[in-house]
Structures are given as C-alpha cells and as structure tokens.
Amino acid sequence: MSVLLKAKIAEVFEEPGCDINQGKSEKERKKGCTKQLNPGAAAGGCAFDGAKIALQPIADVAHLVHGPIACEGNSWDNRHSASSHSQIYRTGFTTDINELDVIYGGEKRLFKSIREILEKYDPPAVFVYQTCVTALVGDDIEAVCQRATEKFGKPIIPVNAPGFAGPKNLGNKLGAEALLDYVIGTREPEFTTPYDINIIGEYNLVGELWQVKPLLDALGIRILSCISGDGRYNEVATAHRAKVNMMVCSKSMINIATKMEQRWGIPYFEGSFYGIGDMSDTLRQIAKLLVQTGAPADLLDRTERLIEVEEARAWKRIAHYKQRLAGKRVLLITGGVKSWSVVAALQEGGMEIVGTSVKKSTREDKEKIKEIMGEGADAHMIDDMTPREMYAMLRDARADIMLSGGRSQFVALKARMPWLDINQERHHPYGGYEGMVELVAEIDRAIFNPVWQQVRIPAPWGEDGETLEAPSSPVHAQLAGVAAKAMELEPEEVPV
C-alpha cells in the first residue's frame, strides 16, 4: 500500500465529528476503527465496493475500474441509484487487466483507457478506481490521472480505495476523500442564493431523493449539489458555496461534512429522510440553519406550515393501514441510520419491533434506538445474529415479517415468512412522507398476501410420500358434474 493511501486512511480515522474517536487514546486511535474481519465468517463488501457505491451515483461521469475483470465484471449495473439526466454512470468501464499487465504494470493500459473513454463518450470527468491487484503491483493511479488531466484537459479523478484497505464503510470515506481532494471547490456556481444546501450521503436509490425534493423546492430551498445521488460533476465541484450541509446515511461520508466545515465554514447537521417525524425534523433543521446563515426568517414559518400539512396527510394515509398492522412484529436486519430511523417509522404504523440489528451501527445510533424504543430496547438490539438464528426466529413465528437486504431474504422466504427489501437492491422508494406511506403499504401488501397461507399448507402425505388418508371429496364426480352441467347434460356415473 502506498504511503499516500496509508496516510489517507489514518486521516479518515482521525475523525473529529466522531465522538467515539475523540474519546480514544492516541494509541487506540492509530489502530483505526474498523473491526478486524474474521476469515471464513465475514460478509459485506470491500473498500473498493464502498467507494464505488458512494461515487457512482454521480451520473454524468464515466466510472473506470482499474483492475482485473472481477471488480467490475462481477458487479456492474447492480444498484438502482436513479438519474434524471445522463445514463453514462450505468456503463461499465474497466481496464480488465491481464497477466502481462500484472507483470509489467497496467499504467499504460489505464492511460489509453482514459483516452478511449474521452474520445468515445466525452464525459465531463472520469473517476478512476484503484483495486487490489493494481495497488499490489504498484500502479500509480494518481500519477496517471494527473498526466491524463494535463494531456486531455478534463478532470481525471483518482479514487484510491483498493479492496484490501478495509471494509465498505472505509471505502465510502475514501471515496469522499477523492471528492474533497480533487472535486469540491474546483468550480464556482453561476449564482448562489441564501437557500443553497448540499445533501451528503444520499444516493437517490430508486429515486428516493425525488420524494423529498418537491418539499425543498416548495420552500425555495435549492439543492446546490447532492453527493452523490442524481449528481452532476459540475454541481459537486461547486458544493463549497452551499450555506448548509445535510448529512444523510449516518457516518458514511461524515468526512465531507466535517472537512467542508473546516475549510469553508459550512455548518452541517445529521438528518434522515426515513420516517415522518425524522423528515419533519430534517426540514426544521435545514430551515433553522439556513436562517442562521442569513436566509430570511419567514422560512421557519413556511416550513412549519408545510410540515403540518404534509404530516396530517401522511398520518391520514397511514391510518388506513395502522388498524391492519397494529401489533405485527417486525424483525429488522439492516445497519447504521436505518436501524433507528426505520424503527420510528414502523412504530408510527402501529408495528412492534421484535429485533433490530446493530452490527453496523455506531454508539450514537444505539442511543437513538434506546430513545425511540424506550424501556427494554436493549433486549431487542441484536449484535450479531447468525442466519440460522434468524431462520429459527421466523420459523417459530416470533416475528411476522423480516425487513433486510437482499442477501438475507432467503432466511425469511425459506422459513415461509414475509420479507421486504429495504437495502440498496430494492425497487420501492421509501423517502420522505410519501415514502413512509409506501413502506407501510408494502409491508401490508407483503403480510396480507394470501400466498403465505398457501405455502404453509402441509403436503397431504408424510416424509416417505405415503398417503395419510383418502382424499376427502370425490373430485372426479364433482368435475364431471360441473362439465355436464355446462354442456347441459346429466352427469354420468363416475367410478371413484
């Protein structure tokens, strides 16, 4: 690993916005905050995966993966981050290095690849992702990118987050560092307003941002840049002119918020678009901070009025389901911000949370859960549940539905219990007031699907396939009767 990358990782771990980190001794801090992975018992993506997740939603940029075929060939076009403009971010670009590149280095291939992309697709910028193999053989992607930027006159951005550097979460931060080092602050916006904000850590999965944007639009709040959902390179480059930063998705890109505060004095707050109360708090926070930074004070009143209208409408729509869903028990297997923001939302829908996983949650997240769930929250926080335990819990009907990411869906489905996708591969947007109604509707649709009764009907024979008892009704005779009636004939005698 290059000295540069090592320094970068140390820097990422030196997070002033993280109180856990600030509570550590100098020595502890040096170790970093990633848990050591357990070989043979690990799950989840690598740092490269994390960096790609964080940056790929910038939609008008070509994302070029410098490495062997596995890194891009096995993973491209697998997320539903939506774009309202360019579609080039969905194109898979990779140098697909071969054995000779491993031996002689892949820098030349990388340089040529950048040129080919610019010639054929002409994006405003190219993001170049480092991977394990190319990092190990010593390809200097920073140097290649610098040379390419000079030669072609377009920003070519190195993203140095090889897979072995750590887990996905670290990759999110290293991706964010690339934006801080090479993109943010490199351009000026055409104009600014007192209502300019950045939304950081929102990936616009299945278009969720668009469930929230109309609210901001109505208040006259401008999203100067969203990092990175539905993003445009030039907008991200001007992000430093925003008045306020909102950080979504817990700590995944906190370094952008803290460093923008240090460099440009932009205040930030942590908010969520999931859940009715959280959405309202978020709007209030944005309004408050904008007014503090100089926006006219009427924004506060307008925001309150909008919240009142939107909340009333959402409650009314959810009330329809609340009756049906009251007391339904939910097992929530996710992480970070969703471990609490969705909890509040589900409680709003009358449901009971019988377990929420906190494996990927920070101490703050856990505090929030306690705050929301009140007494006995500890009992429902699951640190590390094996699939077998989840399966047993569902099979024994200690929960009515599981909400989780796509990978663990079969734990529920094989136990013949309802399951709903709430992670990145989902097809339904759950943002804002609209999204929460959608989530509750989807849970209702899942739980009350008659298929669950069907798939739980035991086969009318034993393990050995021997018939247990004679069929109860003479099906033959019945059918013959129906057919005869239809043809206006008398039923014949049918031997049963």
Partner: protein
C-alpha cells in the same frame, strides 16, 4: 469455422466476461454439504455472492478469507487456516472448496503448500475434505474457472474403483441450468443407467424449500458420489470446457469419454441417444422417439420466424456455440458474435468471426441486426437500440425461473426455439398504406403524357340525393 479476433481496445466497456473465481464457485456450489471460499479480499466474495443470488434467487453459501493489506503482503496462510477452522466450526461442511483470486495470485500465495501445512497442524480438520483451485482474476473467465474447479474436484477426490457397467459420469458445462441437468439425468436413466453428475447444481440451486436452515449447500453431488465416479463405465461431458476434467477422469480411472460440444439441437441429441443406447445395450425409449418428432415439428413451425433473422449474440464459448449453432440451423444469420475467452468451440461456430470482447462490441454489431442475445447486462444496449433481447446464460437477474429453463435435449431445444420464435413474432412489422411508395422515376413513367382531364361533372339528380 469462425475466425477469432481479439478486441484491440484498452478499456473494456460493459463487460460480458465475469471472473474465474466466480465460475469456480458455481462448480463448488454443485457439491453437497460444501462451503466454497474465495481466497481474497472480502469484496471478491461479496460481488460474486450478490450476482449468484440475483440470478438463482437462492441463498448462496460463499465465504472469504478476508485478506487485508498486511496479510496480502505477508501471505495468507493464517487467513486460510482461520477460515478453514471457522467454517468447520460454524457450518460443518463435508467439503471446503477454495479458489484463489487476483489478489492472492499476484502475491503468489502457495495454497497447495498451505493446505499440507494446515493438515499437519490442525488434525481436527481430518473429517473435512479440502479442494483447491488456482483461478487468478486476470486470466480466463467464468467458464475457465468452472472448468478448472471441476478438474480440481476430480483430481482431489476421485480414485480408481472396480468398474460398474451401468454407471456413467456426466460432466455438465457451466452453461447448463439445474433444469438442463435434470433433463439429461432423466434421459440417461431412461436407458437403465445411473448417472453421477459432477457438479450437480440441480440438487442445490434448483430452488426448493429445505426442512431446516443449513449454512452449506443444500444438495448436489455428495462426497460418496464424487468418489464413486472412479467406477463409471463412461464419461460424458457437455461443452468443450468439460474436456479437461473428462481427461483427468480418464487419467485417474481409465474411463473412456466423449465430449458433446453441445446438446442443444437435433443431430447432437440424436448422437447422445445413440451413444446411450450403445452403452446400455437398450433401444431408444419411445418417449424420446416421440420427442424427436415433436422437435421436428417445432423446427418447422419456428423456422418462419428465425429464417433470415440477423442475430447479434454474446456469450461464453460453449453457450455461444450451443445457441448460435441451433439458430444457424434454423436459418438465422450469426451476424455479430462476441465471446469472452479463447476456446476450441469457436472453431465449430457457423459464423464468420468471433470477437473476444465486450457488450460495447455487441452493441456496435447489433446496429444492423434484428435481435440481441446475451445475458441480462445486454438490457441497456437493447434499450438504446430499441431491439428485442433474448436473455441467455449467466447472469439473468431481471427474470425469474432461471433454474427451471431447459435448453438441452429434444425438449429443451424445442423450448429455446419457441422462445426465440416468440421473441421475433412480437416484432413482426405492421405495414401501412404508405410503406411502399413508387420511385420518382416510376411515378414519372406512369403519369408522363397522360391527357389532362377536367373532373367529370356530377349529374344533377345524384348531386341532389347526396345533399
């Protein structure tokens, strides 16, 4: 007799290819009570896992040695040992199957050596078989990884045994679905023979509901069956990719072999039945004689829609040959063929050239074609071109039921013909009155010199009536 051309590009755009370790993992997923492991960083496993889940819609047991910066440089012995012990403790598989990745191959980890050391140091692993295959990401592709993994299984676990005259070994290629394997097994058993299928994803990835949760694969070739392959009277491989493992079986147990370059089509299935009749000494069952006749009828019904169709197809070598050849036999023209890696199969393909390239190459070539045929990643190209996409191979993540799609045997061939013909039928052009305008020259010829006549006046009586 296709001429193989390698794409000259530095940058692969919209990859067709997937990595060797992923193919190797699929092979390992066809073993019962097995835990496949990728020796690499956790992302290698994570990406592969997600893709397999999206295709099969099944829980996929797949582990990682979770290599980090330090272990990558110092060597992964400790990670391999820890992974083996952890997996044995948590999932208790009968077989742990390891494949290497680009990361560990670049470093040069000697995993064969590691396993010898682990065996010495950790006697508790004595009840677990360990298979290892070297599959660097930067060489070959999915099909190659699968082929090497099957060979590694054979070389590690098969020993020569006394001959069983009524037992054959079936080596399915990576392009065969669980339904394909079931179909072939049924055909073989119809001749009174027993088939050992290696590997057998029809037991593990066919989408069934097991009575309890298991951390390992849910079925597939059992360890006993793998070992018993040493007694088979014959090895049948489907796809050129199986030759390597079939030769290994021949070397170990002296088993004669035949590689069927494909089993999608008429003649190749005739040949299969002929071969089975010969091995078993039994006649071809009436069921298959009937199916053959049905296939002939399907070919006749289907040829109206496939004949003259210009096809752009991208797939791994053996699948390309299977589907491409059938379409050629049905009168389609293989205008643009793209594949991933070199293979003896390409020499048999009835097309002018095969490009070893990506889906960008396919998209370019498809501009003049009527239909695109490739995996689900072709959807963007098909959208842009406004042309139909027939999904084949792996991954097909935007359709369900992939495990139950059968494309081999008479019946599977018939099903594929119907799919293809129906895809084309949906696109039959509707014509309009102005579709065939005459050329200006024809217009002139037709009208030149015609006497100019005033419109005839309408008789007063009629004019009144119409008013």
């Amino acid at each position: 007799m296709a001429n193989v051309v390698e794409s000259k590009k530095s940058c692969s755009v919209n990859p067709l290819k997937m990595s060797q370790p992923l193919g190797a993992s699929l092979a390992f997923l066809g073993l019962d009570a097995c835990m496949p492991v990728m020796h690499g960083s956790q992302g290698c496993t994570s990406f592969g896992l997600v893709l397999l889940v999206r295709h099969f819609k099944e829980a996929i047991p797949l582990q990682t040695t979770a290599m980090n910066e330090v272990t990558s440089i110092l060597g992964g012995y400790d990670n391999i040992e820890a992974a083996l012990l952890n997996i044995r403790k948590r999932a208790a598989p009968k077989i742990i199957a390891i494949c290497s990745t680009g990361l560990t191959e670049t470093k040069g980890d000697d995993v064969d050596g590691y396993i010898v050391t682990v065996r010495k140091r950790k006697p508790e692993l004595a009840d677990t078989e360990i298979v290892y295959v070297s599959t660097p990401d930067y060489m070959g592709g999915f099909e190659d990884g699968y082929a090497h993994a099957v060979t590694a299984i054979v070389r590690t676990l098969v020993k020569p045994l006394p001959l069983k005259a009524d037992q054959v070994t079936l080596l399915p290629g990576s392009h065969l679905s669980p339904a394909d394997i079931d179909e072939l097994r049924e055909i073989i058993e119809a001749f009174g023979l027993t088939a050992i299928v290696l590997p057998d994803i029809s037991g593990s990835l066919d989408g069934h509901i097991p009575p309890d949760w298991r951390g390992t694969t849910l079925g597939g070739t059992t360890l006993e069956q793998i070992r018993a392959a040493g007694a088979s009277a014959f090895t049948m491989g489907v796809g050129e990719q199986t030759r390597e493992a079939a030769l290994a079986l021949q070397e170990i147990a002296g088993t004669p072999l035949e590689i069927f370059e494909r089993l999608t089509g008429l003649e190749c299935n005739d040949h299969l039945l002929q071969r089975l009749a010969h091995i078993s000494g039994r006649p071809v069952p009436p069921k298959y004689r009937r199916q053959r006749s049905q296939l002939l009828d399907a070919m006749l019904d289907g040829h109206f829609y496939t004949g003259g169709t210009k096809v752009a197809i991208a797939a791994e070598p053996d699948l390309l040959l299977a589907v491409g050849s059938l379409l050629h036999e049905m009168g389609a023209e293989l205008r643009c063929c793209v594949s991933t890696t070199k293979s003896a199969s390409h020499a048999l393909l009835p097309a002018e050239t095969v490009i070893l390239g990506d889906l960008e190459d396919l998209e370019r070539g498809a501009a003049e074609c009527d239909v695109l045929i490739t995996h689900s990643h072709g959807r963007q190209a098909a959208d842009r071109l406004g042309k139909p996409l027939l999904r084949i191979g792996f991954p097909v993540f935007d359709r369900i039921g992939n495990a139950h799609r059968c494309q081999v045997g008479y019946r599977g061939t018939m099903a594929l013909i119907f799919e293809m013909a129906n895809t084309m039928m949906e696109r039959i052009a509707h014509h309009h009155a102005t579709d065939w305008p005459l050329t200006p020259e024809a217009m002139r010829a037709a009208t030149h010199g015609a006497a100019v006549r005033a419109p005839e006046s309408i008789p007063p009586s009629l004019a009144e009536a119409s008013a």
